[in-house]
Amino acid sequence: MSQRGVIVGKPYERLSQEQVEIINRTSLDLLKDPGILCYHEESVSMLEKAGAKVKATREGEHDAWWVSIPEKVVKQALDTAPSKVTLGARNPENQVVMDAEVTRIHFGSGSETNYWLEIEPETFSSKKDGREQVFPVMKKSRGNLGFLARSAHLANNLENLDFFIRNVNVQDEDVTTENKDVNVFFTSLNNITKPVVGGIADFNQLKQVVGMAEIIAGGREELVKNPVTSFITSVIKSPLQVVAETAEKLIEIARMGLPVVISTSPQGGSTAPIDELGMVAQVNAEALTGIVINQLANPGAPVIYGAVPVRARMDDLHDMYGVPEFCHYNMACAQMARHYKVPCYSTAGVGDAKVPGVQAAVEKMFTYTAVPFAAPDLLHYAFGLLDKTQTFSPEQAVLDNHQIGMVKFLHRESGVTAEAAEETRKVVREVMNSPYRMYARHARKMLRKGGIFEGFPFEGESDDQDETLLKLHERFKQIEGEEPEHLPEDMCKKIFDQTPGLLPRLNPHAK
């Protein structure tokens, strides 16, 4: 079985049992009163049938319903929701196997930035003495399918990236609302052999995307066993509103038995309370709502508790990721999901900074070091994301891969056992009786066992310039030179024959 990710030995419990209960209670109370405001009729009737109280209303142009969800409906959904969910992958060795009762964390990318920001090294000469020096110049482009393919290929080669959520939004001229989903899913699946997780923009393309995945997995049943693609639905519009279109997709995905993340992303200070208790009580109520709808549609369907709580920036009300409150929110949510024994999708590693550099490194290192201590099953947004998720930088993703390697290493087991202690006594006695009293032989053994962390691989040689970005660029270019792992020709032929809207220019085997 796949062993991706890393076990967090003793997860940090920010909340006491009593505090978990307070949040649970508050969320359940909120689901009863004021309840949720639901815009999706089918969800409303399912909820009503299960025992919720429903009151019709109008919100602007739309029909809507106030739904008061009683505790027993939530409890029922949590009883049927599985604690084990597997994200499949083209290469089954890359599967992400989640079990809410095993504290194994996996790191992934995401999500759909508008811009691709790439480094172009350029030589400058000093006005003072004419001395020439190379500096990284940033080139910013709008996202397109080409960049998406490159980001998936990069992600395939980053050893610490465990699952792929597409990094760039595509804005090609030949991509329309009617063919976008098939083209982005194909581009992702055609360039990476790790789990692909993503949102669906157009309900009509869900079936085609799943059809494509079936061809790759080898049939319907095979796909359920190895779901090479899983989905994300942002079914909630905070505070506490269920969006009609997304609810429809959520229900359909549940019925197909494919894994789905219920993702809710309130902003503390605007669409959710900014204090930890208020934020977590609301985001928890929202995630539970999604799970309830999913389980009502298909009891036992694989579902993931997704929380992306962020804090508002006080000067312009943009999202803010690199702050301690962000960690508080996310750590508490991970604890709530574990309390319910449902796998958790959490967040860390977004730079508020616009470009790679000191600010980005500080913000990213801070959050993706802290949040994993709470041991969510999935940690997304962790690779290359800058400018509050507006921009993807491949060089930043290469650096994140290294830093996440450090975080994974941090959670390795201590190795303190009675047998190891015997070895320690032996080694110390031996070294004390040797001429130089050095532990080099012992260090070598650790080194060869992979027990010693590599250090910083992007160290420069210069005495007066930080060369990290230039080194990252070199590494990125080296990765770009690696052979892509495309889907085989016959599979592509089948997919292209069967999938309307797929752009022929994407077929890697086309002449």
């Binding site: 130089y436 050095m438 080099a440 070598r444 080194l447 060869r448």
Partner: protein, 231 residues
Amino acid sequence: MKEELIERIVENVLQGRRDKDDEGIEEDYAGEPGVAELVQEALDNGIDTNTILLEGLSKGMEQVGQKYETGEYFIPDMLTAAEAVEAGMKIMEPHLAGEGESEGKGKVIMATVEKDLHDIGKNLVSIMLKGSGFNVVDLGIDVPAARIVEAAEEEKAELIGLSALLNTTMVNMEDVVRELENKGLRDKIKVIIGGAPTSDDFAAEIGADGYGKDAFAAIRVAEKLLSGGNK
């Protein structure tokens, strides 16, 4: 037979195996002879010490150096390999003396100067010098200038290597040079220095013959200074 034995010496230097009890980098060496046993076997088979030294031990160490340059090996690998070479040298010692000629690449006295207790860097240099074929006598830490010069005289050393890590003790290096001059030994014995606060400039200032920024530089400088010597 002869070639195969020498080949195995090289291999075991690369694996850092002093004797049969040592593990290699790859684990499956248990019980097989290490450098000490192989050198003994080579001597028993009448292979001359020069061949064992140059084509076995030194060649192994050279390959270790190459692997370090390409990033395959790290300092702990170099040190363990050097220890393996040292184990081989120990076996050869009585035979070398018997032949009554040069002892490897030359004799070196190593010491950390008076009032200085730092020895990690100095040990690294000592072990690496030994590993590359020098005969090193290491006097340890906090060694007064007079003692260093006395030992050099006794041991008939051609080179003194001095280490200091404090800018309050580096001045004691100069005392060693003066003491050599006073005893009329300056033209017979060369002096190299090292340690973080020292530099090429400082070496020139106190009249030392060379400076090395790390253990590799130490080997280069030592080889350069002794190559034109008495061999």
